[in-house]
Amino acid sequence: MRAPRIRSFGTFSGGIDLPDDKGSTLNAPIGAWTEIRRLSLPLDQNAESAASPIVQKDQKVTAGESIATGHNEAPDIFAPADAIVTGFSTVEIAGRLTTQKSPAIDLELTSSIELPAANPVKPHWSKLGEAAMWDRLTEGPISVHRGGALPLAAWVLRARSKSCGLLVANAMEQQPLVTANHRLMVEYGAEVTEGLAILARATGIPNAALVVPRRRTDAYRSLAVPAKKYNITQVALSHKYPTEADTILVRALTRRQVPPGRTPMDAGVAVIDPATCFAVYRWIACDQRLPGRIVTVSGAAQHPSGNYFLPFGVHCLDIINSDEHIVIHGGPMIGALCNEETVVTPATDAILSITPSPHAPPSPCIRCGWCADHCPARLNVPALNDDFELSMVEDARRAGVSACVGCGVCSYVCPARLPLTQRVGELKLAAIDAAAAENKGEE
């Protein structure tokens, strides 16, 4: 596909300016969280690619030992530290559109986990041949979380088969309180940029862009050097939420429209997050398996609010346990409530304890039209709300409900306090199911 032209001042209709509210963690350096004693490593990232455990209960494992083998390109799962297997359980992880359940291996840690220092190996990754690079990618422990989870190798294959013309690292972090990507970019920005260059090479995409919010460009000045070295375009987009949603980002950046219910790759743009770029760099260039990611934590008892390196599989409620506030994972706009089973995955960028805005229970829609005005997907949300109340999935499907990006803007503005995002999301799921059933019928 022809490479799209990048529009540095691109924008989109709809959207809203959110309060920034990042002050308390914006300048907090990435810290370590040493009190972690137990992990539950999820085995299924999605239905197609699961892993099966190869350890038994009470078995001792050492750091780096394989504890589950993957099927269908799924990466193997390795023990992040010395530990004892204490059993098998079910955990909840952020999945496509909603949260999903996954079986997991419970570990009792006997050593602590910290973010290792970068230690590039020889030869430099740019000297790796095509085949060697591909081997390393497929061996890698990385999965890409954009919507659903996908093993990195599968993601690269898909990007190649759609012959994308542009690779975008989406560092637009716009939700209030969340600063994980920002800190990652500030402290490890050069590695992220290099990870993006590695992915551009692996996918064979000639153009790569690093997209950051315009409010924070001052903090990223030092990235100009590595970006220039690998010929990466730096773009700063406006802070209008939700530019951070992939399909909206593609529209703002290239003016291409992602068809409803499809991924940005269908519009010829591959979108990746900085955390994955970072993990790719650490794996390909340093031969390190990153056992966790940077997460913004606010409101915990043991540590002050800040950004911490948390291992995958740690229970969110072990990090924050609060009786007065609610605990959510993901940002305040699109996140979900934590329960006993929720664990950190590559998709978790924040664990926050917040006081939700107290408000009256939902009242009937008064048709003010604000939700439709602000919806970045140009959906007629009050009509979809009617469709939801009357269970008219077909009608919603014709109205293009699958274009919804789940950004939460409609619920945010609704003066009637209707849970619109949830309702539209449910309609979208139902519409996707209906479309799948129809396709089956035709075959």
């Binding site: 509210d21 606010s298 706009m333 619920s411």
Partner: protein, 427 residues
């Protein structure tokens, strides 16, 4: 919790309803439905205060009866049917206030009461309350009393307080009927508080009278007999052999500045244009009203009155039809004529406060423009062709009926969806 976070959370109630916070987003904009109704209520108090000043304490009495009975009737209905009154009160107050704005100040006490009963029961609760009704409830109440009591809601002679009687005067103590051209300098007839006069829009309505035209021209300036200075001797373009036996429209109307601050006969809330526009701009600023709707309403009404024919008298008294009145006597006269048409009726109140009721307008910008254009065209066609006096209210009720249709046709275009035109062609 960081301080910046605490600042952002409006704390209206200490209770957290778990069902209301179970899903994202956990941030909510502070605007709530009650706020909308309360702020609109406060904005609508502007025209009410102007009405109290211009029409005396009886305007306040009408408003209080209307608001209180709307609230009581709604509460009574929910008590009898045992349904919960979601948001009932704030919207009932607003409905009562808007209803009072559409009534004259001199109606007897039972008129606002009956109107309120119709507004709440027929206009609102039988549809299921807030968010579900089809017609603007205040206008439903107005329509009911306009049909049942035409002689009190729309009499031939209205009254208007004299200047020295503002606020404290009793508008029902009126003097003999007469023509009122210069309100500010005319004292009230002896022993009375108010003049009895014809509302200016009734005067304009005479232009649509094809049997007995009341006027011979829009403006007087090219009538040689009356032109004292004798400068303007150019023969009028469209009226070749006219013998001016009748006055011109503009000479009969009140002064335009009196129209702007509202010293003219009319319903409580409709006369003071300045206050209506300021309050309306505030609603636009708060995003409760999109500017496109009132602008489309007013512009389309202006276009219709600029084109629609008026009937003028020729010598011998037979009617003479003039299309395109805006151009017939020069555009300066035409412009003044169009302004009189727009400012002398209920159009401004209708465009800023009644057509913009959230529930009965279309929800998208395009739909609202369509709605506003429809309202303007219907309103002025009713007035110019059918001589309906409160035509803007009728037009809003008529367009409210089509709101669901407009909403179904005019949706924002989600990515990948076809344009409206292409969809219609494919059907």
């Amino acid at each position: 919790m960081p301080a910046s976070e605490a600042d952002n959370m409006p704390s209206t109630s200490p209770m957290i309803d778990p069902s209301a916070v179970s899903s994202a987003p956990f941030y909510r904009a502070p605007e709530a439905v009650r706020t909308i109704f309360v702020v609109t209520f406060i904005a609508a108090c502007g025209p009410l205060f102007a009405g109290i000043v211009l029409f005396g304490w009886r305007a306040l009495v009408v408003a209080v009866i209307s608001i209180v009975s709307c609230a009581l009737i709604e509460r009574g209905y929910y008590a009898v049917t045992r349904t919960p009154a979601l948001l009932g009160r704030s919207h009932a107050y607003l409905t009562g206030l808007l209803l009072a704005l559409t009534l004259p100040a001199f109606v007897p006490w039972y008129v606002p009461l009956i109107a309120a009963a119709f507004a709440i029961i027929v206009g609102k609760v039988i549809f299921g309350g807030v968010g579900h009704f089809l017609w603007q409830p205040a206008l439903v109440g107005w329509l009911a009393v306009a049909v049942v009591f035409p002689s009190v809601t729309n009499p031939r002679h209205w009254s208007l307080l004299a200047r020295e009687q503002l606020v404290t005067g009793d508008i029902t103590i009126t003097g003999p009927p007469g023509e009122l051209r210069n309100w500010a300098e005319t004292p009230a007839p002896a022993g009375t508080h108010a003049f009895s006069t014809r509302p200016p829009k009734a005067i304009l309505l005479d232009l649509a009278n094809s049997d007995q035209p009341a006027f011979s021209a829009l403006a007087l300036r090219d009538i040689p007999e009356l032109d004292d200075l004798g400068k303007n001797t150019k023969p009028p373009p469209n009226l070749p052999d006219m013998k001016r036996i009748k006055p011109s429209v503009i000479m009969e109307m009140p002064r335009i500045n009196e129209l702007l601050y509202g010293a003219r006969a009319g319903a409580i809330g409709e006369t003071c244009i300045i206050v209506i526009v300021v309050a309306g701009l505030y609603l636009i600023y708060r995003h409760y009203v999109k500017w496109q709707l009132p602008v489309a309403f007013i512009l389309s009404a202006a276009v219709v009155v600029a084109i629609a024919p008026v009937y003028l008298a020729r010598s011998g008294g037979e009617a003479y039809r003039v299309w395109l009145p805006v151009a017939s006597e020069g555009f300066d006269v035409g412009f003044v004529y169009v302004c009189y048409q727009l400012l002398s009726g209920e159009l401004m109140l209708a465009a800023f406060f009644l057509a913009t009721e959230m529930t009965c307008r279309p929800s998208t910008t395009g739909g609202q423009i369509l709605f506003g254009i429809g309202c303007g065209i219907i309103a002025m066609c009713l007035r110019m062709f059918l001589k309906v006096q409160f035509s803007c209210f009728m037009a809003i009720l008529a367009m409210n009926t089509f709101t669901p249709t407009i909403d179904a046709l005019w949706r924002p275009r989600a990515p990948g969806r076809k344009h409206l035109l292409r969809r219609l062609l494919q059907r």
